[in-house]
């Protein structure tokens, strides 16, 4: 059988037996398939799209939104081979230790394991995203021109980037690994195969089969021994909620958690203004550069101890474009520099951007609507929220950065957003879909367990950032790949 097949050519009514079905050929699905290459496990990788963007397939993603303005659900992700890696920005950084901790002040926090559990997988994840050697904050000892900060809670952190050199875009998993997938003897990749139902056994304790449909009207069945849903942070929840024939609230949703706790990284624009008294800034703060063998950019992040002490969430702050100061700004800079005994005659100002972590919120959720897509699947509605405390926590971080700049006599900060309406007016989002099938040891608090197995369903797993119980401020791709590689090791033991 050819390794790449098309579901539209499968005879209607066919039942395909396989050891492992992977639903979705995005970064997680492709990584899982490659990690299980050359094992005795027969893998069927089911992808809704083909090798290129197709409007009718993308339209399956349409949905609606209420609450805080969010991106259209068919614009914030991509539905073809490689998934949303076809439009990602390539930002990479492992999650911090504190991201995994249960924090008494942060409801719903705490992963079922520490960072050490996935740390061994970061190197392979880093290789898959082609971000070079994982140096990250080691760059601080190698780079000249780092902005001097006084002692405190914010430091210059470093993000590395997926292969982005010249006109080469970040690693698009479909295009980049298509040839590798074709060489995997135990893999069949089926394109245009939309899984429309996770059908459980009558006792709801195991997955029996998958309903598969194509936009051309073809329908057939896949009967896997095990299945992994790797359809992205939104579609995974949709498929589980819509599969409600045996479990009336949806697969894995006995405790009403599927679709809840959705999260993204909030990216409000122009949140603050940075003034550097000497006007000098190293280029790696403002854009990505190649140096020390990697492609990277410097940002400002809160330290682990500062986050713990002040009960703050993660964030990254970027230096953006040069801006002119108004009369108050000029006066504040002149007055402050003079009082500190610093020459500010060459001072320059820059807008600051950010990505900030949100606190988990069960009411930030997806629900099914009565509207149906072309395959008869119910469409989703998102209710989006963001707490004032999320903004306040980030504001405190930037204020600390301002204090440290004053301490070092290198510059100062203006906080440009204060009220909720000011924050919301400049709000954008990272397209980092997380949390909708959160991981927890307790089935009442999580959809999947520490192995990413859906609680109570022996042969069904979830891969991807939908399992993140809290989110950190690092971009999810590299971290979800590490989790996926860990899942691959687990599945090897399951099949042994």
């Amino acid at each position: 059988m050819p390794i790449f097949t098309d579901a539209r050519a499968v005879p209607a009514g066919t039942t395909i037996d396989t050891d492992l079905a992977i639903i979705g050929a995005g970064p997680a699905g492709i990584t899982l398939a490659m990690a299980l290459a050359n094992t005795p496990i027969r893998i069927l990788l089911l992808e809704s799209g083909g090798g290129e963007y197709e409007e009718k397939i993308q339209a399956l993603y349409k949905g609606s939104e209420t609450g805080v303005r969010y991106l259209p659900l068919d614009a914030c992700r991509l539905r073809f081979l490689g998934g949303s890696s076809n439009h990602w920005g390539g930002w990479c950084r492992p999650l911090d230790d504190s991201d995994f901790e249960k924090r008494a002040w942060l409801p719903y926090s705490g992963w079922p394991f520490t960072r050490a559990e996935i740390a061994p997988y970061f190197a392979r994840a880093q290789a898959l995203i082609e971000a070079g050697a994982p140096v990250y904050d080691e760059l601080k000892d190698k780079m000249d021109g780092q902005i001097a900060l006084g002692d405190g809670g914010v430091y210059t952190s470093y993000f590395q980037f997926s292969k982005t050199r010249g006109d080469v875009t970040p690693t698009a998993f479909g295009e980049r690994y298509s040839a590798d997938l074709r060489r995997i003897a135990n893999l069949q990749l089926m394109e245009h195969a939309n899984v429309t139902g996770l059908r459980l056994a009558h006792d709801a304790k195991s997955l029996d089969r998958l309903d598969v449909a194509t936009l051309s009207g073809n329908k057939f069945t896949v009967k896997p021994k095990y299945a992994v849903v790797a359809a992205g942070g939104i579609e995974t929840a949709r498929l589980m909620l819509a599969s409600n024939d045996v479990m009336k609230t949806g697969v894995g949703n006995g405790n009403d958690l599927v679709g809840r706790f959705f999260a993204d990284h909030a990216i409000p624009r122009n949140t603050a203004t940075l003034v550097l008294f000497d006007g000098k800034i190293a280029p790696y703060y403002k854009t990505t550069i190649d140096a020390a063998g990697v492609h990277f950019r410097a940002t400002f992040s809160p330290t682990e101890s500062f986050k713990r002490e002040r009960q703050l969430l993660g964030s990254l702050t970027t230096v953006e474009n040069h801006v002119e100061l108004d009369a108050l700004g000029k006066a504040a800079v002149a007055e402050t520099a003079s009082a500190l005994g610093v020459d500010a005659s060459n001072a320059r100002a820059f807008a600051l951007g950010c990505g900030l972590e949100m606190a988990p919120d069960p009411d930030r959720r997806f629900t099914l609507t009565n509207e149906r897509d072309a395959l008869g699947m119910p469409r989703l509605q998102l209710h989006m929220t963001i707490a004032d405390s999320d903004f306040a926590r980030y504001r405190e971080t930037i204020k600390e950065l301002g204090r440290q700049l004053l301490a070092a006599k290198t510059g100062m900060i203006r906080l440009d957003r204060k009220t909720r309406s000011e924050w919301l007016a400049v709000m954008d989002w990272g397209n980092h879909h997380m949390g909708t099938t959160r991981m927890h040891d307790d089935p009442k608090q999580g959809v999947v367990d520490a192995n990413s197995q859906v609680h109570g369903i022996a042969n069904l797993y979830v891969a991807g950032s939908s399992v993140f119980p809290t989110y950190g401020s690092s971009n999810p791709t590299m971290n979800l790949l590490a989790l996926t590689l860990r899942l691959a090791d687990h599945l090897k033991t399951v099949f042994r």
Partner: protein
């Protein structure tokens, strides 16, 4: 050693003396010795600021966000802070002690913000 004589011309001596006087005057000006003390009830405090033109602008921004600003009480507090300490030292204490204020969003050492507010209150 007959015939040997050390001679000093008056002209360079006078020129040197004038130059030294000029330097002294300049230094004193820089040190603020000839600068008029700012007028008003907080002149003694505001004299610690080099830039009295910009201070009220910053001060107005601070006052716009501060309820119940009691200038007299603040002045008394600042006199204590600034007694036997330079403004620079006090600002460093503020910064390291996280005594930080905001004026129109600008993150400032608290003492500087308060001085600016007094400048705006004159």
């Amino acid at each position: 050693m007959s015939g040997w004589k050390t001679t000093i011309s008056r002209r360079p001596v006078i020129a040197g003396a004038l130059a030294l006087f000029g330097l002294a005057i300049g230094g004193a000006y820089e040190a603020g010795l000839f600068r008029a003390r700012p007028k008003g009830p907080y002149g003694d405090l505001l004299s610690s600021l080099d830039d009295l033109d910009d201070a009220p602008i910053v001060g107005r921004a601070y006052l716009a966000e501060t309820k119940n600003f009691d200038a007299k009480a603040v002045a008394a507090q600042l006199r204590t802070r600034l007694s036997n300490r330079s403004l620079s030292d006090v600002l460093n204490i503020d910064i390291t002690g996280n005594q930080i204020a905001e004026a129109g969003g600008w993150v400032l050492p608290e003492t500087l913000a308060l001085l600016c507010a007094l400048a705006a209150s004159r």
